[in-house]
């Protein structure tokens, strides 16, 4: 039996077929492309349709399509839903939540089963199609009243909807919302709600050539299109597992954290408290960082941790779609503006320079962060080297000198430098390195144990991270099926000496910290043929052999 050989490629191929089908059927004519310069070449995917597709590749993704009416946003989502889930178009159409100011909770969430309530006195909830559907569409979300927005907030945040005493847990879904800010009866969307949309794309008018073609197309109100089914929901959910298991390159990972920090840090006030929102322009006056190439002055609100996670998530999806082995910096930089622009409150003073085009301004911010990131990178690398026990006095000096020009160095790096110069830390990290080189498991475990008592918490966590970074370079991937995983769960629990029962309730990611190695088990679905991916970070092969044996050889190791 061959397991998953080429499954990823096949799924990827199908996704491109879906994009081709959109193009062939002239469903969404926007000849604008997203260009990605990846290490293995330059890739182009259609801008809007590409992002709509990307949103379907991340687990429980939520996307906002921002633009005027009549540009084909809803139609694109509907047809892509058909292509990617094989759900009949009528069913997708029936579950669309068409927003209006009068939409109350009952119309969004569900209603009580009146017959049962009258006859038996039971409060049984009949959930609305929208809540139960996999492919969720909210049309014109800006027309939802604040109370209706709260219902969506809970759905997007926890995947939970409550009505009376009943709770509906939406474990797997893909959500899209369209937004037309110029519409009448528009309510402002709250910042927390906007933050829950992983990605947002501005849909503009098609190009002139596209318009010419659109005019010639048959009227789809009269002649319905026949859209093929390319993928099933199960297959799409399988993609989620592969996307989730994509590793991120260290530099790309660093950029994600730095982007969030650069936006959130301020030398004078704490942006989290909200003071900045009130007095932003005044606070920046005379600040030494105002005239530098910094972004702190552009943004009044910090970037949430959720935004960071989303950036990682969508970057993984794009990298996976392009067939890359890991997520490079170029992919993160490409995705970043689409993840941040709708979540931040910008300074009007600077936004004006961009004609109040929030997306263009966000792109400028990402480019600015990238510039300073590249300038700072050798310092960050020297800092990582220092944590790895390599002391270069010249670089340490440079880190300290950069304090006055760089917020990240000032608040996040420089204050910790001296901690890693302490003898105890340098000695232990040195011992750890030589043990890693000679692959002596017992010695490594002893050093890590000793570090707990001899080092302070910051030093200890740095030492652990250093060790984990070494482990991450030796990533092995084991892919099996959920049926096999379930069948051999007891054996696996014994081999790994861990309680794995939680993995039977997917979607879950379980991290197993063994003393000197780490495993991540990604289970997306409980169908027998759903993939289970085990990322093993280890210096030794024996654990791989043990897992393979426990699974009866029914797995693929790469």
């Amino acid at each position: 039996m061959v397991y998953m050989l080429g499954e990823e490629d096949l799924l990827r191929k199908k996704l491109f077929l879906a994009l081709e089908a959109l193009d062939r059927e002239k469903i969404f004519l926007h000849t604008k492309f997203l260009e990605i310069e990846a290490p293995n070449g330059v890739f182009r995917i259609p801008l809007v349709a590409g992002f709509v597709l990307l949103n379907a590749l991340v687990g429980n993704g939520a996307m906002l399509l921002w633009g005027g009416y009549g540009y084909g946003k809803t139609m694109l989502i509907k047809y892509l839903g058909r292509l990617l889930t094989s759900t009949p178009l009528e069913e997708i159409e029936a579950s669309i939540l068409r927003a209006n100011p009068q939409l109350i909770e009952e119309k969004i969430v569900g209603r009580l089963h009146l017959g049962r309530l009258i006859k038996e006195g039971e409060e049984e909830v009949v959930w609305r199609r929208f809540i139960k559907s996999f492919w969720k569409i909210i049309d014109e979300i800006n027309r939802l009243s604040p109370s209706a927005q709260d219902v969506i907030l809970s759905l997007l945040g926890e995947g939970i909807v409550k009505y009376f005493d009943s709770v509906f847990v939406s474990r797997k879904y893909v959500l899209y919302a369209t937004l037309n800010p110029r519409d009448v009866g528009t309510f402002p969307l709250s910042m927390p709600l906007l933050d829950r949309f992983g990605i947002a794309v501005v849909v503009k008018s098609p190009l002139l050539d596209d318009m010419n073609e659109i005019v010639l197309l048959p009227d789809d109100k009269v002649l319905k299109k026949s859209i093929p089914a390319v993928l099933s929901i199960d297959e799409l959910v399988n993609v989620w597992a592969y996307v989730e298991a994509m590793p991120i390159e260290p530099v790309a990972q660093m950029f994600i954290s730095v982007l969030a920090k650069e936006i959130s840090l301020c030398d004078r006030v704490d942006k989290e408290t909200g003071i900045f929102v009130e007095v932003g322009p005044k606070i920046c006056t005379g600040c030494p960082f105002e005239n530098l190439d910094t972004v702190c002055k552009y943004v009044y609100t910090p970037l949430s941790v959720r935004a960071q996670k989303d950036l990682a998530k969508y970057s993984k999806a794009l990298a996976w779609l392009l067939g890359l082995k890991s997520v490079p910096l170029s992919v993160v930089v490409t995705i970043a503006p689409y993840v941040i622009w709708h979540r931040l409150r910008f300074s009007d003073k600077y936004l004006e320079e961009f004609g109040f085009d929030r997306f263009r301004f966000a792109k400028h911010i990402v480019e600015s962060v990238l510039r300073t990131f590249l300038q700072r990178l050798p310092l960050l690398q020297a800092y990582e080297d220092l944590k790895a026990g390599n002391v270069d006095p010249r670089m340490i000096n440079m880190i300290k000198n950069a304090r006055n020009d760089d917020l990240i160095i000032r608040y996040e790096v420089a204050p910790l430098v001296d901690l890693f110069l302490e003898d105890a830390y340098i000695r232990l990290v040195g011992e750890l390195k030589s043990s890693i080189e000679s692959q002596k498991r017992t010695e490594i475990e002893e050093i890590l144990e000793k570090a707990k008592s001899e080092l302070n918490p910051i030093q200890y966590s740095a030492l652990i991270r250093f060790y984990v970074s070494k482990l991450r370079r030796n990533r092995r991937k084991i892919v099996t099926r959920f049926g096999v995983w379930r069948q051999h769960l007891d054996d696996l629990s014994k081999v790994l000496n861990a309680d794995l029962s939680g993995t039977l309730n997917p979607p879950t990611t379980t991290r197993i910290d063994r003393k000197s190695e780490i495993l991540e088990v990604i289970v997306i679905d409980d169908r027998d043929n759903a993939p289970v991916i085990i990322n093993v970070y280890t210096l030794w092969d024996d654990i791989i052999d043990k897992i393979t044996n426990a699974l009866g050889g029914q797995c693929q190791v790469s």
């Binding site: 190439d293 170029s330 490409t334 480019e367 990238l370 300073t372 050798p378």
Partner: protein, 436 residues
């Protein structure tokens, strides 16, 4: 009662006494006169400035500056009297030698050896990131000593240094050589207060000088490479520079990748961007730079693609195409070469003045060159671009007449790359290429 006029040494020594004897006005006037004729970078000039400000007042200081300015101008020195009065003679002389195109690298090296010894600047040439060209390596080494020297004496932190130094740099922007630019712009990357506008100003001051822009690119690339490879000892202002070059994220990532790998082609990546954004000089300078072998062929093509052709002359177009013909055989197999040539011909067609293109096409030389290009670079893409150029600009009535039979080699080439060329090419092109 008359007094004999003392020499400058005596006057400086006994200036107070001399004032008492002849009066302030006369003494001050004589100090200005004598100071004005002393050696340009004589240490006494510093003392003259001190005495004038202490005893004579602003008017005499201004007069002395005026005298000095005239002399500096006559001498061809880029240094200003303000620079001398602010930073003193020693530094002014060093900087004058660095900026002066007439001072050779050998002289500069001799000066810098002394400076390095005096200020205990210990830089080993072999410890630096190597460059393939020995002359450029020498310039890089001197630039390293130069900025370390300025840093050591605190100049890079001086608030007046940047504006004054840049005004000196602007004075010789059009004349400065590649090597001198490498040395002179290097400290700018390490000045803390350097802004995007500042880099823009400097690049604008070099905008007519291709050699200057090349030197700037080398210096910038070297600063980045040595820092990225953690061989430098200070942080260059990469962020402001990238902003001044208006690089988008993919260009920035390309810069980072090449700098991180220590790849010298980073120079050309920066140069291409600088030339397309700032270069306002004649194209022949770019072509001269290319022909002198300062650039590798592949990089040169890329550079030609970034050069504005709005002011190109017939000779420039000819030189450009000659260069393409010359490197065609070598680069034919290189990925993307055909596309580059296609883009270049299209760019010339779009940007150069129609009258110039027309006159180029009218010449026999031009026609021979284009036929040679088709033969040397048998590409459908290039043929399409040439067809467009010829059919748009070659005047039908003045197409050079056929003087000989069809060129069999050209026929063979056309048949191989575009079998239906007789229908696909414009009638003008067919006639122009001397074909039936």
């Amino acid at each position: 009662m008359s007094y004999e006029m003392p020499d400058l040494d005596a006057l400086i020594k006994n200036f107070e006494e001399y004032i008492a004897k002849v009066g302030k006005r006369k003494a001050c006037r004589q100090l200005v006169e004598l100071g004005g004729v002393s050696e340009l970078f004589d240490e006494k000039i510093e003392r003259v400035f001190e005495l004038l400000s202490e005893f004579c007042g602003g008017l005499y200081v201004a007069k002395f500056k005026q005298t000095l300015r005239a002399r500096l101008l006559a001498y061809g020195s880029p240094i200003t009297p303000e620079f001398i009065s602010t930073f003193g003679i020693t530094i002014s002389q060093v900087i004058s030698n660095v900026l002066d195109p007439n001072v050779s690298l050998t002289t500069l090296k001799r000066d810098f050896d002394k400076i390095a010894e005096r200020h205990k600047i210990n830089i080993r040439k072999e410890a630096l990131v190597g460059l393939s060209s020995p002359t450029l390596s020498d310039a890089i080494f001197l630039s390293e000593v130069f900025w370390h020297f300025l840093n050591k004496i605190g100049m890079l932190d001086h608030p007046e240094f940047l504006p004054m130094y840049s005004s000196c740099l602007k004075r010789i922007g059009d004349k400065i050589t590649v090597e001198k630019t490498i040395i002179s712009v290097r400290p700018l990357f390490y000045v803390k207060s350097v802004s995007v506008n500042f880099f823009e100003d400097v690049l604008r001051s070099l905008s007519n000088n291709f050699d200057g822009l090349l030197g700037f690119s080398i210096s910038a690339a070297y600063s980045m490479i040595s820092y990225m490879l953690q061989k430098g000892s200070a942080i260059p202002s990469i962020s402001s520079l990238l902003a001044a070059l208006a690089m988008d994220s993919s260009e920035m990532l390309a810069v980072y990748e090449r700098a991180f790998l220590g790849d010298e082609s980073l120079v050309y990546l920066i140069l291409n961007k600088i030339v397309s954004t700032y270069y306002r000089g004649p194209i022949f300078k770019v072509i001269d730079g290319i022909l002198s072998g300062k650039l590798r062929a592949q990089n040169a093509i890329e550079l030609l693609l970034h050069t504005p052709y709005t002011t190109a002359s017939i000779q420039n177009i000819r030189q450009t195409l000659e260069f393409i013909v010359r490197v065609s055989e070598k680069l034919l197999s290189e990925k993307g070469f055909e596309r580059q040539v296609f883009n270049l011909i299209t760019k010339i067609a779009f940007e150069a003045r129609p009258a110039i293109i027309r006159r180029f096409l009218e010449t026999d030389e031009g026609r021979v060159l284009l036929i040679e290009l088709i033969k040397k670079l048998p590409s459908r893409l290039v043929l399409v671009a040439l067809n467009r150029l010829i059919s748009t600009y070659a005047p039908m009535d003045r197409i050079p007449g056929r003087r000989s039979g069809e060129d069999p080699e050209l026929l063979e080439t056309l048949n191989s790359i575009m079998p239906n060329w007789r229908y696909a090419l414009d009638i003008k092109t067919v006639k122009y290429l001397n074909l039936k």
